[in-house]
Amino acid sequence: MSDFHNQSQASARRSDYVWQYEYYDDEEPVSFEGLKAHRYSIVIGFWVGLAVFVIFMFFVLTLLTKTGAPHQENPEHAEKHHRPGSCLADNGSPQDENERAFSRPLLPESRSFFHFYISEEEQGQGKCKAEDQGGGAIQGQRAQESEERQPLQGLVDEGKSDRESAFLSHFNIPNFVNLEHSSTLGEDDLLLCEPSAMLGSQSRSQDAHRNIN
C-alpha cells in the first residue's frame, strides 16, 4: 500500500496536483470500450467553441465600429454632475478644470494625443477651434478622455434638454463609415471635429459652429 501510495504520489506530483487522486480512484481504470464519439471530443469541442467565441467577439466589436451601436440612452446621461465645459471657454469653471487638467499626470498616450491636438490647433484645421488656449486644453483633455458630453457641448450651447435632443439625434446617424474615410485627422480625431464632420449636412451643427466661431 505504501508503494502504491508512493507511485500515486509520484504521478500526482507529476500532474502538479496531489488532490487529483482524491477524485478518481485508480484501482479501476476508466474503460474506453464502446465510445460513440472520438476520445478527445470534449477537447476539440471546447477549443472550437472558444475559437468561435473569440472570432464572434471580434466581429461584433468591428461591426459596432462600423454601425455605431445606436442604442444609447445610457446611464451616463443620468449623471448631471458633470460640469459643462465647452469649446467656448465657459465662464470661470474651466479654470479649475484647467488646473486639474494640467496638474494631472497625463497618460502617455493621452499626452501624445494632447500634443497632436495642439499641433492641429496651430494648423487651424479643426472647425472646433477653441476660443482660447485654456478652452483648447480642456477640449484636448476631454477629447482624449472621450468624455461623452463632448459632442453636445460643441454642437449646441443651449439648455440641457436641447443638448439631450442633440445627443440623441447624434445617435441617429446611421453610419460612421463616412467619418472614417472623410476625416483628415484619422484615428486621433478630435471629439468635436468628429461630429461636425459627421453632421456636416445638418444645419443645426453648422449653426452651432458658426456660433462658436
Binding site: R13, D16, W19, F32, I42, E76, R104, E145, S146
Partner: protein, 283 residues
C-alpha cells in the same frame, strides 16, 4: 499506474519549456514592477494597478518555476516526496499560485474599472481615484488574496471551495467583459479613441486580444476544475484531463503575455525599460 491502462495518456510538457516560460515570465513581470516603482512619472493609479498585476504574475511564475525545480529534484531522487518539509513547501507553492491567480483577476478588474473612470469621469478622475484610495484598494486586494489562498489550500479538497473558485472566475470574466465592451461601445461612438489603447490599431482588435488572451489562457484550466468535480470517471472527461500540463503551460504563458498587453503599451514604461536595461543614468 493509471496512465498505462488509459487510451488517453497524459500529455507531458518537457520541463525545459516549463522553465523557459517560468523564467521569462518572471523576468518580464519583475522588470515591470521595478520600473513602475523606480520611475516617479509612473506613480499614478493606472500604473499602480499594472504594477500589482505584474507582481502577482511574478509570484505565479516564481512559484511555478520553484515547483518545477522541486519536481525535477524529486524525480531525480534528491528530495523525499513524503517528507513533511517538502509537503509543507508544496502547500506554500500551491497557496502562492492560488493567491496569484485570484490576485491577477482582481488586478484585471481594477484596471478595467480604472480605465472606465478615466474615460467616463475624466474630470473627476483625480477626486475619485486618489493615490490613497489606490493604496487602499491594493491593500484590500492583497489581503483578500492572501486570506483566500490560505483558505483554499487548507480546504482545497472540498467541493465547496472549488465551486467558489470557479464561480469567482466566471463572474469576474463576465464583469470584465461587460465593462470593456461597454467602454468600447460608448467610446467608439463618441471619440473613436479609447484612452490607453494604441492609436494606430483598431480598438476592436486590441480589445479582442485583451479579452481573448484572458479567456484562452484561463478557461481550459477552469474547465479542468469543473470536469474534475463533475465527471471524474467519464472517459471523455479523462481525455480532457490528460491535457492538464498543457493547460498549466497556457496559464503560465498568460503571465508572460500580460506585460505585452498591459504594460508595454505605454511609451513611458518602454522608455523606462530602455533606460534601465541600458543602465544609463536617468534619475
Amino acid at each position: 499506474a493509471i496512465t498505462a491502462k488509459s487510451d488517453c495518456p497524459e500529455v507531458e510538457v518537457p520541463v525545459p519549456l516549463f522553465f523557459t516560460i517560468g523564467v521569462v515570465g518572471l523576468a518580464e513581470n519583475f522588470l515591470v514592477v521595478v520600473a513602475v516603482i523606480c520611475n516617479r512619472n509612473l506613480h499614478s493609479p493606472m500604473y499602480c494597478f499594472i504594477c500589482s498585476l505584474a507582481a502577482f504574475n511574478t509570484i505565479a511564475s516564481l512559484a511555478k518555476t520553484w515547483e518545477n525545480l522541486m519536481l525535477v529534484f524529486a524525480g531525480v531522487g534528491q528530495l523525499d516526496q513524503r517528507g513533511s518539509s517538502e509537503t509543507k513547501l508544496d502547500d506554500v507553492m500551491d497557496s502562492l499560485l492560488c493567491m496569484s491567480f485570484v490576485g491577477s483577476i482582481f488586478s484585471f478588474m481594477a484596471i478595467a474599472v480604472d480605465r472606465y473612470i478615466t474615460i467616463f469621469h475624466a474630470l473627476r478622475y483625480h477626486n475619485i481615484m486618489t493615490m490613497r484610495r489606490t493604496a487602499a484598494i491594493l491593500g484590500v486586494i492583497w489581503t483578500t488574496c492572501g486570506v483566500l489562498a490560505m483558505l483554499m489550500v487548507r480546504f482545497f479538497d472540498t467541493i465547496f471551495i472549488m465551486t467558489c473558485f470557479i464561480i469567482f472566475f466566471l463572474i469576474s470574466l463576465v464583469l470584465i467583459g461587460c465593462l470593456y465592451v461597454y467602454m468600447f461601445m460608448l467610446a467608439r461612438i463618441h471619440a473613436r479613441r479609447i484612452a490607453a489603447l494604441p492609436t494606430s490599431g483598431s480598438g476592436a482588435l486590441t480589445l479582442t486580444i485583451l479579452f481573448g488572451a484572458f479567456v484562452v489562457c484561463w478557461a481550459p484550466f477552469f474547465l479542468h476544475l469543473i470536469i474534475i468535480m463533475v465527471c471524474p470517471l467519464n472517459p471523455y472527461c479523462e481525455c480532457y484531463r490528460s491535457l492538464f500540463q498543457l493547460h498549466v503551460v497556457l496559464l503560465m504563458s498568460h503571465a508572460l503575455i500580460d506585460p505585452a498587453i498591459y504594460a508595454f503599451r505605454s511609451a513611458e514604461l518602454r522608455h523606462t525599460f530602455r533606460k534601465m536595461l541600458l543602465c544609463s543614468d536617468w534619475r
